[in-house]
Symmetry: C2
Subunit: 199 residues, 2 copies
């Protein structure tokens, strides 16, 4: 990504701050007004920012500005899957009332959701009871990665090892034993891409 000029940087910061406070982007005229110059100049800055990849402009839409920069990206609200039910986990997540704001730059997954951890089966992987794991939905997973699976009618987080026809779920806890299942018995829901903990 190209370097920004001093002025472009201040415009970018203003955009981020405006969106943080108001929840929506400013109009071109509001940008100009803030800096004390005409809006046609503001438009030039926006186009420069777009050219350099820091924002995306939805053409002909009012306030159609999306921030893209890695160093000050917008937050992404992911739904918290309170009760992930068997059969229709994604649906349950979509119906979720709760949501969590995560960093869009850290977790690049538009369709991610969060899951609150119960139990300490992943404690040796640094995932504790009460933590939220950020899950990127996918139906397969690399062997050895931490993922979310359906086992019976419950969703659990485990380190997953895949062999032909077999799936081994390994709790990251010295006192618990891995368990192996036939491929049909468990269903992979997604991969854990992040952890958020409140102390």
């Amino acid at each position: 990504m190209k370097e920004l000029t001093e002025k472009q940087r201040t415009v970018y910061k203003f955009l981020a701050e405006f969106m943080r406070r108001r929840g929506y982007p400013p109009t071109i005229r509001e940008i100009g007004e803030h800096f004390g110059f005409l809006w046609s100049a503001a438009r030039g800055h926006l186009q420069a920012l777009e050219r350099k990849g820091y924002v995306r402009l939805d053409r002909a839409k009012s306030r159609g500005i999306e921030l893209r920069g890695w160093n000050m990206s917008g937050g992404l609200a992911v739904p918290v899957a309170g009760k992930v039910r068997a059969g229709k986990p994604m649906l349950a997540a979509e119906q979720s009332e709760e949501s969590l704001f995560i960093d869009r730059a850290l977790f690049q997954a538009e369709d991610a959701f969060a899951l609150k951890i119960t139990g300490d089966s992943m404690i040796d992987a640094g995932i504790w009871e009460g933590d939220y794991v950020i899950v990127k939905p996918q139906e397969t997973i690399g062997s050895g990665e931490i993922g979310v699976v359906f086992l019976g009618d419950e969703a659990t987080v485990k380190r997953i090892y895949v062999k032909k026809g077999e799936i081994t779920l390994k709790p990251e806890n010295r006192e618990m034993e891995p368990a192996t299942y036939r491929a049909g018995e468990v269903r992979i829901i997604g991969r854990v891409i992040g952890v958020v903990r409140k102390l």
Copy 2:
């Protein structure tokens, strides 16, 4: 907050979903279009939502919709203190270019900052190398809490025990020993209120 009707609830969900995906609110007409009715009806719903306290409408502004519900709080950008220098840690944090978006509902601290962890001295507390800890700046700390202190010219994260005139820093790592210092030797920077990890 008053109860929403079925229809109002679906409108509210659409607003949240739209903002989640696009980064800015829809226009009144876009709402109507989505549900298949005229925009003047959509406006009625918005006004109902405002009356019940779920959104705030900025009058006469395009896309002037702010969500207020508890389930969709705004994100908070906290600066990442790349190199916290002795003497002026907060200043360094303020000058930081990088920032992290965290959930305002989870971490209620307007002046918080983030610190990237190096080393594995807190691994038994579930804080790993590469994790970001969210720090709420404060000059004192409860004994037994996890905090950030300045030791010499370096900032470290440890579990802190305070006795009269003495401060003990305990690494949460079986292989490391606690160390005790005189009160003047270490300076308490803040309390760790959260952890964010990218996998």
